[in-house]
């Protein structure tokens, strides 16, 4: 399954082995795993991620299809969690496999840039001081420009 959106934790290593299982033509694999990071104040209790169930998988599948057209890839997988997660837990991962590393790197970066700003997820940080929705960063929006 190239796109998985789930509440449960996942094992990045297991996802990685599945990516190229049985393949003999892949020379490169690139992965990115996003983790829950504590706030600057060091008081994060947990993170909550909301998503738009009807839209999320389809939106990400569109991004994967786009990446597959643009680069020569053997596989591209995205796992993204929602719900509650603790500091240090994996939130999401992108993994790409390709005959050559250039395609694998570029496609992984492309997918990350689009996931940040175009996949319908919203992060909330719950700290000792209260709850705060994470604000989208202008740099993340600007990063999309390099792919057009």
């Amino acid at each position: 399954m190239p796109v998985v959106v789930q509440e449960d934790p996942f094992d990045p290593g297991a996802e990685l082995s599945r990516l190229v299982a049985g393949r003999r033509d892949m020379g490169a694999m690139v992965t990115f795993t996003g983790l829950v990071r504590d706030t600057g104040a060091g008081d994060l209790r947990h993170m909550e991620i909301e998503h738009y169930p009807g839209m999320t998988v389809r939106a990400i599948e569109g991004m994967v299809a786009h990446a597959t057209e643009r680069w020569t890839l053997g596989a591209a997988h995205v796992v993204h969690r929602y719900g509650r997660m603790a500091v240090g837990e994996a939130i999401m991962m992108v993994a790409t496999a390709a005959p050559h590393r250039g395609d694998a790197f570029a496609a992984a970066e492309f997918l990350m840039d689009y996931l940040k700003s175009r996949a319908p997820f919203w992060k909330k940080e719950v700290t000792d001081r209260g709850e705060d929705w994470v604000t989208a960063r202008a740099e993340d929006e600007a990063a999309l420009g390099r792919w057009s």
Partner: protein, 83 residues
């Protein structure tokens, strides 16, 4: 026409419901927002700065000038923070 309106993240919290069925004659998303704002203060507050709000029509990203057409579902949410 009758349309399903969904709210996410702080829009959901400010408006107080995740989704509702709305009877509307609005032609565009912008018209629908104006109708909602005229309803009650909580809507007016939530939509006071639409530059901070994104919209999807039938689960595809869209914009405020888009015609509602025969869309069944409109979703409002803040800029996304995935990844």
């Amino acid at each position: 026409m009758r349309i399903e309106v969904l709210y996410f993240a702080w829009l959901r919290e400010r408006i107080g419901v995740p989704r509702e069925r709305v009877e509307t004659e609005a032609g565009t998303v912008r018209d629908l927002v104006a109708e909602l704002r005229a309803r009650e203060e909580r809507y007016d507050a939530a939509f006071s700065d639409v530059s901070a709000v994104r919209v999807a029509l039938d689960q595809e990203l869209s914009d405020f000038d888009a015609a509602l057409g025969d869309a069944r579902e409109v979703a409002f949410f803040p800029p996304m923070t995935g990844g």
